[in-house]
């Protein structure tokens, strides 16, 4: 069902994610750079929203995304754009504040035409294998949180 997405580690310090979309690269690129569009989908687990989405999509421009859940838990990331090639490629660095900043994650995102749609390839480069392991483990915690939240929702139904 979710076979459209691939997620794999590569070498010592990379994580590569690919995903196909049924829209042309221009639309997918815009959905990655226009704050009004980003706020509609880049939300992670169910129940999280992004009240702050600042995005200066130009070389040297900065971005800042802040997420909160219904219980008031929150975290944010900041980043800078290094290269933008509309509508095919974005290179940026980002770090997450939990609340201490994580080491910089260097991300190259490509949007390649694929039939009438787009193949997106996001290649993350972490400074070292330890940071990559920590990043994957952090992603896990958020994934787990979503699972526990869903479990909470299910409990009344199965009692």
């Amino acid at each position: 069902m979710s076979s459209k997405l691939t997620l794999k580690t590569e070498g010592e310090t990379h994580v590569v994610v690919t995903r196909r979309f049924a829209a042309p690269p221009e639309a997918v690129y815009r959905a990655h750079t226009d704050p009004k569009l980003i706020q509609q989908w880049l939300l992670g687990p169910d129940g999280w929203t992004m009240p702050v989405c600042i995005n200066q999509a130009a070389p040297g421009g900065k971005f800042r995304y802040e997420w909160v859940d219904a219980k008031g838990n929150g975290f944010y990331i900041t980043g800078e754009y290094l290269e933008l090639e509309p509508y095919s490629r974005i290179v940026h660095v980002e770090r997450m504040y939990l609340p201490d900043p994580t080491p910089d994650n260097h991300v190259e995102t490509r949007f390649d035409p694929d039939g009438t749609g787009t193949l997106m390839t996001m290649r993350m480069t972490l400074p070292d294998p330890q940071t990559r392991a920590a990043m994957l483990a952090t992603g896990m915690e958020h994934g787990m949180e979503a699972s526990y939240a869903r479990l909470e929702l299910m409990i009344p139904a199965i009692q």
Binding site: S2, L5, L7, R19, A146
Partner: protein, 116 residues
Amino acid sequence: MLMASLDGAFAALADPTRRAIVARLAKGEATVTELAKPFKMTQPAISQHLKVLEDAGLVTSRVDGAKRPRSLAKAGIDALDQWLAMLRSALENNYDRLDGVLARMEKPNAKKGAKR
């Protein structure tokens, strides 16, 4: 508890030698002597790496006479697999939402049909 064990597993796998040991054990069990050979490391050094992998729940051993062949611990490896599936599903949530956003976006400036 599951999370704590996964933290240990990821920390253990942050080391390239230990990843290589896991890759070797994926092909079948091996003794410390057999493991030490391709890595050009001393047996105590390999034993130290194996201890980290065992503590992380990724590798297990059995007694075979004087030998203690090591193999992958299914439970620990399965936990890693499950975690990857979960991370994948969290990302898939985002991109499923993006599918919806893209479907609602109006076509950017009339561009007269397909150009590709």
